[in-house]
């Protein structure tokens, strides 16, 4: 199968802009992606757009055509919703379409407006990614669900809150040079340990912030990129998706993510790579424990050992396999529907040498983006490689 070139990437700043509509956010990201790609808007054959809580935050459904319009594209447009994996899913569908030869140029991305809801409102909106009847009505919040997983992890494999704090410290450090990041501030382990509890054992610094923002990618076929002489050295060479039971209590393992393992195995096989080939990854660290579960599911760490990866320096910027050089969801921010495509943008820029943190991975040729929905009842994994 042919590979899919990432011709252009565009991100808004992630952060606190409660007054900005998601159509405005996506317009900004799309302008940046088109400028970066050199692809004319009239060549776009479809828009694949991820969004999670638009009905709740903006009273807006049917966002596909709205976003095509905002981007100045006349093409069919569809919104994908898979909770926090919404735009990862959109990327996967677009990649599949281009590989099948049905399209040559697609605009892909996502947006989320969240901070206008306030903390309580956003907490309520995020909770709908869980089973409403059997989880949310018992008081399960999004941080609460990951806290249930964190305690289960500690009980099964060991580890403690301080290990998780090292993940937050690492991701904040990575975001220092990322001008699009929500937090460009260093923190210490003690800051994380002393922060107020959100859902024990997780505290404020274990959680990603509530964010507004958008991401956009211009994806093209190999042949289109060649014909138009595009500067697009990075390709998506593997895609995978996995699923699991919706409610955490229905899973055999509370401290593992089989959906992400399934997605990762499929993406690795698709790209013809193995975990050992991976030079860097952007993984879905909505909570610090989620980074641990992601590393283990992707075989970047053995089961039960991911907890020490940040503390022992294996995943820091100058470690063996730097994880979340963008700052991750933790420090870059997590405008839910934008996150999956933003990870593809970060990995592309890191591999192309165009990222502020590219110096840490100068020889990198293979990167991975891992996007997860809910308590990982949905997961997508993409492999990106430098082609020339």
């Amino acid at each position: 199968m042919s590979d899919v070139r990432v011709a252009g990437t565009g991100l808004t700043p992630f952060g606190n802009s409660p007054e900005r509509t998601s159509r405005d956010l996506f317009a900004e990201a799309s302008i940046a992606a088109f400028e970066d790609s050199g692809v004319p808007r009239e060549d776009v054959e479809g828009v694949f757009y991820g969004n999670f809580m638009g009905e709740l935050s903006e009273h807006q459904g049917h966002q596909g055509p709205l976003m095509a319009e905002a981007a100045g594209v006349q093409a069919p447009a569809t919104r994908y919703e898979s909770a926090c994996a919404s735009s990862g899913t959109a990327v996967r569908e677009a990649v599949t379409r281009i590989r099948n030869g049905e399209n040559d140029v697609l605009l892909v991305g996502g947006a989320e407006r969240m901070t206008n809801l306030g903390t309580a409102g956003a907490t309520e909106a995020l909770a709908i990614a869980a089973d409403d009847l059997w989880e949310v009505r018992a008081g399960v919040t999004f941080p609460g669900a990951y806290a249930l997983m964190a305690r289960a992890y500690f009980d099964e494999f060991g580890g403690e809150h301080e290990d998780l704090a090292h993940i937050a410290v690492k991701n904040h450090a990575n975001a220092l040079s990322n001008e699009k990041a929500q937090y460009q501030s260093a923190i210490e382990v003690s800051d994380a340990l002393e922060a107020p509890p959100v859902s024990e054992p997780l505290g404020l610094y274990d959680a990603c912030p509530i964010s507004d923002g958008a991401s956009a990618l211009v994806l093209t076929s190999e042949s289109y990129a060649a014909e138009h002489d595009l500067e697009a050295p990075v390709a998506i060479t593997g895609t995978g998706q996995g699923g699991d039971r919706m409610a955490l209590h229905d899973r055999e393992y509370l401290a593992r993510s089989p959906a992400a393992r399934e997605a990762g195995a499929e993406a690795y096989a698709d790209a013809g790579v193995s975990a050992g080939d991976v030079d860097l990854a952007e993984v879905h660290d909505c909570f610090t424990i989620a980074e641990v579960l992601a590393l283990e599911a992707l075989d970047l760490e053995p089961i039960g050992e991911g907890i020490t990866a940040a503390r022992d320096g294996r995943t820091t910027a100058d470690g063996e396999t730097p994880i979340n050089l963008s700052g991750g969801l933790k420090a870059k921010g997590h405008p839910v529907g934008a996150t999956g495509a933003s990870q593809i943008a970060e990995v592309t820029d890191l591999l192309a040498g165009e990222h502020p943190n590219s110096d840490h991975v100068a020889d990198a040729t293979t990167g991975v983006a891992h996007n997860a929905g809910g308590t990982v009842a949905s997961a997508t994994v993409h492999v990106l490689e430098v082609m020339e």
Binding site: A138, G139, G144, S199, L202
Partner: protein, 131 residues
């Protein structure tokens, strides 16, 4: 989401809460022994449609728990509260631990089902009381 007479219930789920209040909560099992909670017509594991209703065991064991300090608006007055995943024999469910100080909740604690009420909304909540 209110107690008014015209509230539309969630068939299967609200019936299960009613049964739990009467001490007759059940779960579903397929011929292959997969288990699930209602409402469900099909076994999520194997697709079997002949699901048998079996009595939920009287007590369960806490598999993991969390104490939530930042709730959704629906539990504003309830926080901090402990939520737990509990194994009732072959089936697991999530509920709020009641009748014990949140600081005393621990993994392995034996609990029984007790339908509780949210202090914030007055809605029914799946409660778990130390057995």
């Amino acid at each position: 989401m209110s107690d008014s007479e015209d509230t539309v219930t969630d068939a299967g789920f609200d019936d299960w809460l009613d049964a739990a209040e009467d001490g007759t909560a059940d779960y579903l099992e397929c011929p292959d022994g997969h288990t699930a909670l209602p409402p469900r017509r099909v076994c999520p594991d194997c697709g079997a449609t002949d699901l048998e209703e079996l009595a939920l065991p009287d007590t369960g064991e806490i598999r993991t728990f969390t104490v939530t300090h930042v709730p959704t608006p629906a539990f504003e007055e309830d926080a901090p509260y402990a939520t737990a995943v509990v194994d009732f024999g072959p089936v697991s469910l999530t509920g709020q631990v009641v009748g014990i100080d949140v600081d005393d909740v621990e993994t392995g604690l034996e609990v029984e089902l007790e339908i509780a009420t949210s202090e914030t909304t007055g809605e029914r909540v799946i409660g778990l009381r130390p057995a």
